[in-house]
Symmetry: C2
Subunit: 212 residues, 2 copies
C-alpha cells in the first residue's frame, strides 16, 4: 500500500497519483492541510518541506522523479520506461526539462499567479506574470521541439515523462496566458490526447477535492 502525502492541486503530487493509477497499484492520499508542509510532522518525512512524499510499506521516499521511477520498478506492468536508450533519454530529458525550466519559468511566475493564487483566494501578481512571459514563451517553444511528432513524449507508448509533464501543462490550459502560449503547438495536441485518460480525469484538482 502506498501512502501519498501531498497537497491537493500539486502538479508533482498528481504525477505520482496518475502513475499509481496507470499501474493499478493500491494507494491512499494523505492530504496536507494549509501550512502543514512546513510543520514538524511533514519535515520529518521531507526535510525540504515539499510535496509529494510517499510511504510504501515503511519505505519513505521524497522527490517526485525518484518516486515515479520507484513505482515503475516495483510494479513492472505496464512498463513506463522505454527499453530503447534513445527513447529513455528523451523521457529523462523531458522530466528534467520540466523541473529545471518549465516549472521555474512558467509554473512559478505564470501558473502560480494565474491559476493557483485565485483558487486559494488571494490575488496573483500581475507584474510577475507579464515580466515572465518572454522567457515562458521561449521555454514552451523548446519543450515543443523536444516533444516531436510521436503520440507520446518518448515515442509510441506512455512513459513516466508523460505522467510527469502533463499536470504542469494541464494547469497552463487553465489561464489565458497559458492557453495563448500553447495555441497551435504539438504540446497542445498532446495535452488534448492525454486529458481523457482516467489517470488524469481522476486526479484533477476538482476530482481530488470531491473525493476528499
Amino acid at each position: 500500500m502506498f501512502t501519498v502525502h501531498s497537497i491537493i492541486g500539486s502538479p508533482f503530487g498528481r504525477a505520482v497519483l496518475a502513475t499509481l493509477i496507470e499501474k493499478d497499484a493500491p494507494y491512499r492520499i494523505q492530504a496536507l492541510g494549509p501550512g502543514a508542509h512546513r510543520g514538524p510532522e511533514h519535515i520529518a518525512r521531507h526535510p525540504f518541506g515539499r510535496v509529494p512524499a510517499i510511504d510504501h510499506d515503511g519505505f519513505q521516499l521524497y522527490e517526485t522523479q525518484a518516486i515515479l521511477r520507484y513505482i515503475d520498478r516495483v510494479f513492472p506492468n505496464p512498463p513506463l520506461t522505454p527499453a530503447d536508450p534513445k527513447a529513455a533519454a528523451r523521457m529523462d530529458q523531458v522530466m528534467n526539462a520540466n523541473d529545471w525550466y518549465l516549472f521555474r519559468v512558467v509554473g512559478v511566475p505564470v501558473i502560480f499567479n494565474r491559476v493557483v493564487a485565485p483558487k486559494l483566494g488571494f490575488p496573483g501578481n500581475d507584474e510577475a506574470v507579464v515580466a515572465a512571459l518572454p522567457e515562458a514563451r521561449a521555454c514552451v517553444a523548446a519543450m515543443d521541439t523536444l516533444l516531436g511528432d510521436a503520440p507520446f513524449v518518448a515515442g509510441e507508448t506512455l512513459t513516466l515523462a508523460d505522467l510527469h509533464l502533463f499536470p504542469h501543462v494541464d494547469m497552463m490550459t487553465e489561464c489565458a496566458e497559458g492557453r495563448e502560449m500553447l495555441a497551435g503547438t504539438k504540446l497542445a495536441a498532446w495535452h488534448e490526447r492525454l486529458a481523457t485518460r482516467p489517470c488524469f480525469q481522476r486526479t484533477s484538482w476538482d476530482a481530488l477535492l470531491e473525493a476528499a
Copy 2:
C-alpha cells in the same frame, strides 16, 4: 564517440566526464569559450543555454541526469544503477535533491560567489553568501541524512548519484564556508573516499585546464 560540449569548471559537465571515464568510454571535450553558451551555435544544441550537452554519433542530448542515465544504458559495464528498487530510489532521490536543493541553496549563492567568481576574476557577493548560510546549512544536514552509512550514496557500489553529486560537494571544499558546513559530516568522509578516484582526479578544474 561522445562529444561533450561543456564549460571547464561546470560541476554538471564534470559529472558527465567522470561517468564516461568510469565506463572507459571514448570522448572528447568541446570547451565553450566565455559567453559561448548563449551563442547561436550552442543554443541550437541546448535551447536553454546551459551545459553540458552531448553528441553521441549524431544523437544530441542535453540535461545532465538524462546524459548520465543514457551513458549507463549504452555502456552497461560497470552498471551504475542499482538493481534493487530501494537502492535505485535512493540514487534517484539524491540526484534530484542535488538539482532542486543543494545546487540552488549552496551552489548558486555560496559556491558561485566564493569559488567560481574568484577563479573567473571578479568579486563575489559577500552579502548573498551570508544570507544563504542558514538555508545552506539545513540543506547540507538533509543531504547528510540521505547519505546514510554505506560507502556510496546508494549502498555498497558506485552509482550515478555519486558521480552526479561529487562535483558539487568537491567545490564546497574549496571555500571556508563550504568546509565549515561539511566538517564532521558523513558527506565529508564520503567526499574524501571518492576524491582519489581517477574519474575525479582527471576532471578537476585544474586538470581540465591543463589538458585543454
